[in-house]
């Protein structure tokens, strides 16, 4: 089971070059102010492979040196942070020493100072979002950083080989796994944007879930980085309870004449809808079917009925369709008919959209497919003549 020395040495040097090339590219990306997390994975993996190779070759000193490099980059990888100058410089020195050991066959000794230098603290990312190497819709970002969100937000970093074909890349089992536990917000890069100047790149999946990091320990096996508010640079604001539909906070730039009710139990979608409607209407929210019916009844009673309802189909303690029927019945009782009726926009996922359309043709005014985006909402409101 032995391999020739030449083969071993060639492999050792190849791995070493992998670490070195990764360090150089990372150094360059750091200088540009955009440290590339894919390179952290690449450096880690080459260092990881190198460790056992060096140990097999009997170079224990060199092995412990690269082990320290590996550990540092593993910590950065799992923490979503970035390496600092000291770590990169020390890693370059380690690579030089190891190369010398491989070429001369003389193990490196007296590594303590260098190991101490390598172990200096890596700078954490300023804000978990700065570590995301792609742009996020402002609405998503606002929703995800909201202090009162109910769901957890995570980013997965998955190493992929860049020669992967498009179909395989787009149907990786990880996508089904994430869909089972939560909702995918963003995926990056698209297949055509994989960095093919390297063997490996990183696939990022941003998602929300009700599960905690502990729950996911036996579900997600790739690097999982929580984007919790504590780590965000923004100071946490006081959170407001959202189990009760809050009173609208009326601001001066909000039109007084349009009143909307957003019925949505998913925090991120709700937050997004509130944000989109902010400039057009005074919005209130309801998070369950009974709450929505109650909000509508109260508004009628107070003689300040809603002009617009954004209604999710799947709700706790009832369904969107029950809410819609109840609303239309209340309007009938109050003798509100035709164009005076409240406009109802139904929000549903693609799978259910056709059924929803055919079932509610008479009762709803428009339909939106999740994920909701600003452009679609505005287009719909224009079509309904609610905004110009």
């Amino acid at each position: 089971m032995s391999f020739s020395d030449d083969e071993h040495t060639a492999d050792l040097l190849e791995q070493l070059e992998g670490v070195e090339a990764g360090l150089m590219d990372y150094d360059a990306s750091l200088a540009e102010g955009k440290p590339d997390p894919a390179l952290v994975h690449i450096i880690f993996r080459h260092a990881h492979n190198l460790k056992s190779r060096l140990s097999m070759a009997g170079l224990e000193g060199a092995s412990s040196l690269i082990h320290t490099v590996e550990e540092r980059f593993d910590n950065i990888r799992s923490g979503g942070g970035q390496a600092n100058r000291e770590l990169i410089d020390a890693s370059f020195t380690a690579v030089d020493r190891i190369r010398n050991a491989v070429q001369t066959g003389e193990d490196c000794t007296e590594n303590n100072d260098l190991i101490r230098q390598l172990a200096s603290e890596a700078a954490p990312a300023k804000d978990a979002f700065t570590a995301i190497p792609f742009d996020l819709e402002p609405e998503w970002k606002a929703a995800l950083t909201a202090p009162d969100r109910e769901t957890y937000v995570f980013r997965i970093e998955k190493a992929v080989t860049t020669d992967i074909d498009k179909a395989t890349y787009e149907s990786l089992p990880i996508f089904d796994t994430v869909k089972e536990i939560g909702r995918i917000i963003a995926v990056y890069p698209p297949h055509e944007k994989l960095n093919r100047s390297r063997e490996e790149d990183l696939l990022h999946i941003l998602f929300t879930t009700e599960k905690t990091e502990d729950d996911l320990f036996f579900v997600i096996f790739d690097t999982l980085i929580p984007l919790d508010i504590e780590r965000s640079a923004k100071p946490a604001r006081e959170s407001s309870p959202i189990d009760v539909a809050p009173r609208p906070s009326v601001q001066r730039d909000i039109p007084e004449d349009l009143r909307a009710l957003i019925v949505e139990d998913d925090f991120v979608t709700r937050h997004l809808e509130v944000n989109i409607l902010r400039q057009y209407a005074r919005s209130q929210v309801a998070v369950s079917a009974p709450e929505a019916r109650e909000a509508f009844r109260l508004a009628l009673e107070e003689n300040d009925p809603y002009d617009l309802i954004i209604l999710d189909m799947l709700l706790p303690e009832g369904s969107g369709s029950e809410v819609l029927s109840a609303i239309r019945a209340m309007e009938d009782d109050a003798d509100i008919r035709g164009l005076d009726r409240c406009k109802v926009v139904i929000v549903s996922n693609v799978k259910d959209m056709e059924t929803v359309r055919s079932t509610f043709r008479d009762q709803a005014d428009a339909y939106l497919v999740k994920p909701v985006d600003r452009e679609e909402v505005e287009k719909t409101l224009k079509r309904l003549g609610m905004i110009h």
């Binding site: 391999f3 083969e7 990881h48 992929v160 990786l172 089992p173 490996e200």
Partner: protein, 122 residues
């Protein structure tokens, strides 16, 4: 004609070959894969009595692959030996909890392989 078919999963050629030639010398017929996804596809179509899988791999790592095997009732009984240079107890514990039959820390010798096969009753 061998009844003993094993699957070896590692992104690193030297590791793959080492385990493969060891297993062949013990009378196994050996299939190899470069990552978990490739291995998952092969395992869906063929029967194996034993799987060796590295943990650190791109596309689908060893733990994700292990979990997928353990979730499949038709495959869950195949013993899977995880290979890693990481000897942290929490990682070993995680692999065992997912269902790994054994955990080997790299680099290992043919003696360690002997021990592992014996432990697993081969």
């Amino acid at each position: 004609m061998s009844e003993k078919r094993a699957l070896v999963v590692d992104d690193h050629g030297i590791n793959r070959n080492f385990i493969k030639s060891y297993l062949v010398s013990k009378g196994f017929e050996v299939q190899t894969a470069e990552n978990g996804l490739e291995a998952q596809k092969i395992a869906e179509q063929e029967d194996f009595v034993l799987i060796f899988s590295d943990i650190e791999m791109p596309v689908m790592n060893g733990l994700e692959f292990l979990a997928s095997i353990k979730k499949n009732p038709a495959k869950a009984n195949i013993p899977v030996v995880m290979l890693s240079t990481v000897d942290k107890p929490e990682i070993i514990d995680r692999a065992k909890k997912i269902g790994a039959a054994h955990y080997m820390i790299k680099p290992f010798t043919a003696d360690k392989m002997d021990e592992t096969l014996q432990t697993l009753g081969f």
